[in-house]
Symmetry: C2
Subunit: 340 residues, 2 copies
């Protein structure tokens, strides 16, 4: 079941339903037509940005349940996390979801961490069905990590724009080949190359992304060409270039790669710096853009590697560098086998 | 493998090593002689409280590895979490531990959440060996959740004193009956009874603790008397009384119960309000006090239910109530079977 850092699922869990929700800026981006729900009011009628983020997560979760023909009590667990201090978007959302709650923190890598963990528990029958739901919100994240919006701080070109949105996927024990399946997972190792610029998370995360991908290729004896596409969480343009350079040094050419942070926004016209980021970025792109393509056969086999920068505002103010981590899942179309 | 919310481990993972570390106030408490390492300098020679907390976690992890006769590369994963914003005590510690990192957030319930998850992965061979490590620090927690120490705020009698310390346990696939084993796990549901007092977390967590315990008793058809002792994470005196009252209403008398937050300090002499708390509380007490008793036969079968209050400073300032969650594990001595 395991080789190196890669976990192989003999009974690959099926992704039986998924949902995505996104805000105004995302609705003006390239993936606009693909999200399940778009909300022009990024406050979602709430009095705080933090409560608004909960509402995005709720929308994604409700859509995913609906598409799965399930209700919350049918789930054996919800794996959830976000960027707010003490993960309150998820914890507070779970007040109204009467299902066991497994709180995760992997910064922007949380979605793939959750999918990997949920796949482990569902594949081995510890859970029959589980949901993975992660979210982020531009306004709650700016306050959390940088400065409150009211401060009107100038953004640097390497900075990334936190996606306002959420994604949720429901995993179930193997079906009759009707749904995409999670076939492998790698939980990443923390890497820190001493980047201290809070406005350059792409550079901080690229070494961890490279580490995880190299280990996966070695464990599975595969190469980029074995996949229709390799998606990274949110390295942005800076981290993407670094990842490709690092991989090239190891003999891998990454020419079938997309970064969720770069496809969710149009960097030319949307003033998002190096691209999108946030725990809701890879989650919403995976559910809006990737799963549908695996489901209808446009893609047969792909990788999602969500990347996370593990700093806080306190560690930044204390002059600490930014550790990165990257978790990976292999996802196959309904009738495809995982590469082995 | 599953009934209700309870996961049963057919091949119960063994806890092959453990370590605990604690600070000055803990060294003056009732469990002083039981911790593996006591550090009178609660700053651990570091320049920040946040870095000091990392050092406590590192001490517990290193002791656990040493007792397991393992080194970090022998682990397939470390499940870790803490109370700092963005879980930085764990994320930063993992920079120097070259092992896959699974970041968790369950507030003070994180240790039992991690033990449950690690047990699931080890029991099903997704991992051969995994460590669970959680920490807390009075000084980093006060700044995070209430006021900086320098403010000199007056404490209320219902408030709890965050344990400065950490605990780490190493799980491995079944051995030849030489070590304590994790035989069952329950991941808890979030409960919110509208407590808004940040200085009364025990009351906020008691309903979640009651919920988890009742579900476990129902799923396993057991009662308190089937266990040598039932440990809760850190309900303190207020939460403990509430839990016992709530359980009594359901027909269960809880007279073999200890709260980790109440046995780690002497409430009469140590000025700790309602008792101890923190992600390092149940972790360090489990590793210093509970596992040794299971290991040498003084106890045969017990429950650990860590409890968490899921608020942040931001949600408190926004007037939100405090959601609670409680995760549970059943742990048996080397030759005992879990109740089934």
């Amino acid at each position: 079941m395991r080789k190196g850092d890669t976990i192989f699922f003999e009974q690959a869990p099926a992704v039986i339903g998924w949902g995505s929700a996104a805000g105004k800026k995302e609705s003006e981006g390239p993936l606009s037509a693909e999200f399940d729900a778009l909300y022009p009011d990024t406050r979602m009628g709430q009095t705080t940005w933090e409560a608004a983020e909960q509402a995005f997560a709720r929308s994604a979760l409700e859509t995913a349940l609906q598409k799965s023909h399930l209700q919350a009590p049918h789930l054996d667990g919800v794996f959830a996390g976000d960027l707010q201090c003490q993960c309150t978007a998820s914890g507070y959302l779970m007040r109204s979801i009467d299902t066991p709650f497994l709180g995760l923190y992997g910064a922007c890598s949380t979605f793939a961490e959750g999918m990997g963990l949920a796949a482990c528990l569902v594949a081995t029958h510890a859970m029959r069905r589980a949901a993975v739901c992660t979210s982020s919100h531009f306004c709650s994240a700016e306050r959390q990590f940088r400065t409150p919006l009211d401060y009107g701080g100038k953004r640097t070109p390497t900075s990334q724009w936190t996606v306002t949105g959420a994604g949720c996927a429901v995993l179930s024990q193997a079906d009759e080949g009707k749904h995409p399946r999670i076939t492998k997972a790698v939980f990443g190792r923390v890497r820190d190359f001493n980047v201290t610029d809070i406005n350059n998370m792409g550079a901080a995360m690229a070494p961890a992304a490279c580490e995880t991908l190299l280990r996966f290729f070695r464990d599975t004896e595969t190469a980029p060409a074995d996949y229709d596409r390799i998606y990274t969480g949110d390295l942005g343009i800076v981290g993407t270039r670094l990842l490709r350079t690092l991989l090239q040094q190891e003999g891998f050419v990454l020419d079938n790669h997309s970064d969720c942070g770069m496809i969710v926004f149009d960097r030319e016209t949307q003033n998002v710096g190096a691209g999108g980021s946030g725990a809701g970025c890879s989650a919403s792109v995976f559910c809006a853009h990737i799963l549908p393509r695996l489901s209808d056969g446009r893609m047969k086999r792909c990788l999602l590697m969500s990347t996370g920068a593990l700093m806080s505002q306190i560690t930044s103010l204390q002059g600490e560098s930014i550790p990165g981590v990257a978790h990976l899942i292999e996802v196959c179309g309904p009738t495809e086998e995982g590469q082995s």
